[in-house]
Assembly symmetry: C2
Homo-oligomer: 529 residues x 2
């Protein structure tokens, strides 16, 4: 494992401060020394990225496909070492990381397929109408092209699937954008191993070297320099509200505005309607306790808040969730800092007016550090409505049950909710029919609305929307999970009266790529007549 | 003509300051008194818009279609009065305004067709895979939904096509977003007449009244309040760089980031390559002189700068463009303020180092005010490269010819260009083949690249891209002209395991709307199996 920074797919040694990774469970430093990057490296990485961006303009899509597939192969080939290191650095269990590595290589292959199929460039052709009166129409053809170098911040909670070769990186590379990764300080070693896989794929497939760089920093200096560099054309981030908004505001200080995609906090409300509560109180309680504490509650889509109407099933639900929570063991959180923040936020919330502790786990692992203790709090809707803090995310396995006196109070309480990644309804068919207005309100507050499921477990597919109204993200118009994530890093370019031989293949008369195109407002795979 | 502000499709009288429109040609006030809006009206307009937004969620698309068509009919029915008033307020000639009204009603009908066809919602369906191992896949379905109330700033240079019922308004309404227009102070009366058409269409088609409001202000107070209102979810603007960036920065002061679409300045460079210059010097000169002075040079796509290599044809080109420019009469600019700004900027540029006046019109209408005088300046590439000011937009009929010693100097000069709405190549097939690298550089700097045409005359169609890298716009990922403009005002919403009967029609199994949908990654009009 090489701990040097990577500029244009090459290791750069220098005499910077040395950084070490920590095992959050033991609190001890792990093997491997990593070098804090310099701002000169930021300059060099962006210059190389900009050059690679220019070169990649006319790249054969098949070469991009091969590049993404080769990264996936290299990750899989070194899977054991990567997973081992990620487990040590993140405290996440091996099976979870095995799944996450599969998701990461799956993502790479999904985007490879997208590029291979080719229609994602949204080609639109309005052929010339030379006879049109009073003015002829020129020949106009438009397609999506990459936006430029993209800065990706590795996420703490997905050391593989949302980090160095994760969803942000792969969607930017698929778009044709060079990527500069700011490695997350909670997993330097995992980052180094994953970067090795990317560099080897750059080498093997002959991609321009500037397509990938990765820099280490335990502070904010390098991140700030990356976001504010004039050649940076987009930024992708998954993390806290505070971190995401700091990047948004940093980008706003630039003379040139650029898109920042910050996937931030969400409490992913679950609303349990009366009929299903009565019929399935215990089952729902167990299901939610599991979702709330999965991965030590460190998912973006962790269901942090549950609303229920005081109905016959509510007491049974409370008993069952209390019992379930009390039996779920503590778990190691991603980093000592995240564990400390969780304890502070969880305790602060438990002291807010009207809050009582419904249940808490008593299975605490005393031999490990950075332990999260599953807990569920309870509050009345009237107190919830009065206190904005109760709607804020607590990153970790703590949930809040909001008990509503009646439908009207439920309506008032959900009206207070801010934008969310997900909102879940637990409901029978009759429940839904009786609460249509609440559902319509909820739809305006979320990116994904779920019926009778749990929000954790985010499918990587074309129909996924992982993004939602502020403050869940800063820009609800895009998704960071699924193939549509590629649309964050492209812009349309129109060619007017351009000669066939110089048009990109996607726009040529004969449709050599065999893709879907909108010709004269009709979607078709046929050639231009 | 009613000069009261419009809140939720109703006129609101109050005792505000009275405003008057000015005929820029005569400098005299025109009939009609308009009331400066109050911030209370901003509150009322946004509250009504937010309510209408909620109501519109489940609106029948056919009702939206009828609404847009009815606006077009109402505009056409009152066309004569609207055009007459617009001519008085803008100084633009009647035939141009007749064309612009046709474009405006055409735009309304284009978006009506888009909604009627229905596939624009980008429906994506990944059906459940209950048997998948290790985890079943839920049923996921995604489509675009409106983002919320949109604030539209009327543009000075298109009093019809980019103002009250122009491209921004119609694309927002098509998306399902309520619109609050800030009327442009250069054409209060035109705005009032067009708003009447919209209100009558709201009435006739039974749309929720909050879907449309319009406020008057000769200063910045109302615009600022609109941009910063918490219920505003997007802003659209066409105008100067200074004005656009002021709105971008105002929006950045909000706690909640929202998209601002500012179509700002562009000098729309034209690059004449050597072979075509030799063979068509005179024809190109006449063509460019016409495009430069069209509409008194007040188009976003006005070709403000021309690059040519010192080659045998260059002297002939200079002689011909000088002759053409000298014969083009002065014209009334859109407002006394715009005329004053043009004279200041044009004179300042003519005094920059190395600049000489190649030609100036001597046909100046002394009987009218606010006259623009067509002029073309000349500079060597070496002076151009040294002086950033020479690449800035001068809004009006003044062009700059940059003479390059050779291909290398041309390459260096175009490298200095900032982002543009359009870049035009004048070239033979051989010219193109010999300058491929320059062309690749230019593609990274523009939203539309044109061969052997003029950038003025922006076709309203699906393949149009009217938007480009900064500073042409603040967000190159979107277009403000053509049917894709609708994508500025939507966000995806995903439904997970949602029951058929409560899904929007676009996502129902049977595909009752008969639209294209991506099912299991295949585009199809068929139902879900």
């Amino acid at each position: 494992m090489i701990g040097e920074n990577i500029v244009a797919s090459a290791y750069i040694a220098h005499q910077g401060q040395e950084l070490q990774a920590i095992n959050p469970g033991t609190g001890k430093s792990l093997a491997g020394l990593f070098q804090k990057a310099s701002t000169q490296m930021v300059e060099a990485a962006l210059a190389a990225a900009n050059q690679a961006f220019f070169t990649c303009q006319n790249i054969d899509p098949n070469k991009k496909v091969l590049f993404l597939q080769t990264i996936a192969e290299a990750l899989a080939a070194n899977g054991e070492e990567i997973i081992q290191r990620a487990a040590e650095e993140s405290g996440l269990p091996i099976p979870r990381l095995q799944g996450e590595l599969g998701r990461t290589t799956g993502q790479l292959r999904l985007f490879a397929e997208l590029i291979l199929e080719g229609s994602w460039v949204d080609a639109v052709i309005d052929p010339a109408l030379p006879e049109r009166s009073p003015m002829p129409r020129p020949d106009l053809r438009k397609m999506l092209v990459p936006i430029g170098p993209v800065v990706v911040f590795g996420a703490s909670n997905f050391p593989l699937a949302f980090s160095v070769a994760g969803g942000d990186t792969v969607s930017a590379l698929a778009a044709g954008c060079p990527v500069i990764v700011k490695a997350h300080p909670a997993h330097y070693g995992t980052s180094a191993l994953v970067a090795e896989a990317i560099i080897s794929a750059v080498e093997k497939t002959g991609m321009p070297k500037g397509i990938f760089s990765m820099l280490y920093d335990d502070g904010h200096e390098i991140g700030r320099a990356l976001v504010q560099h004039p050649q940076t054309k987009a930024v992708a981030f998954t993390g806290s509200f505070k971190g995401g908004m700091a990047l948004v505001r940093l980008a706003e200080e630039r003379p040139e505005p650029i898109p920042v995609f910050a996937e931030m906090g969400s409490i992913n409300p679950v609303i349990i309607l009366p009929e299903i509560l009565e019929s399935k109180a215990e089952e729902l309680a167990r299901q939610l306790a599991g979702s709330l504490t999965l991965g030590a509650g460190q998912f973006c889509t962790n269901p942090g808040i549950t609303f229920a109407i005081a109905a016959p099933g509510l007491d049974r639900f409370k008993t069952a969730i209390a019992e379930a929570i009390s039996k779920i063991p503590s778990a190691t959180m991603l980093s000592p800092g995240i564990a400390a923040n969780f304890h502070t936020a969880a305790n602060a919330m438990s002291k807010e007016k009207g809050i009582s502790v419904l249940a808490e786990s008593n299975l605490i692992n005393k031999e490990l550090e950075s332990q999260s203790i599953p807990r569920i709090l309870e509050v009345n809707a009237s107190d919830f409505i009065k206190n904005k803090h109760l709607g804020e995310e607590v990153f970790g396995p703590q949930g809040l049950l909001v008990c509503c006196a009646d439908v009207q109070e439920l309506q008032n309480a959900v009206q207070e909710l801010e934008g969310q990644l997900t909102i879940t309804l637990m409901a029978t068919a009759k429940d839904l029919q009786q609460h249509l207005e609440i559902i319509d309100r909820l739809k305006t507050k979320t990116g994904r609305i779920i019926l009778n499921g749990v929000p954790t477990g985010v499918e990587v597919c074309a129909a996924m929307q992982h993004g939602g109204p502020f403050p869940a993200t800063n820009d609800s118009r895009f998704t960071s999970v699924g193939s549509d994530a590629v649309y964050r890093f492209v812009r349309p370019l129109a060619f007017q009266d351009w000669p066939e031989e110089l048009l990109p293949d996607a726009l040529k008369d004969a449709n050599p790529l065999g893709i879907y195109r909108k010709i004269d407002q009709q979607l078709t795979k046929s050639h231009v007549k």
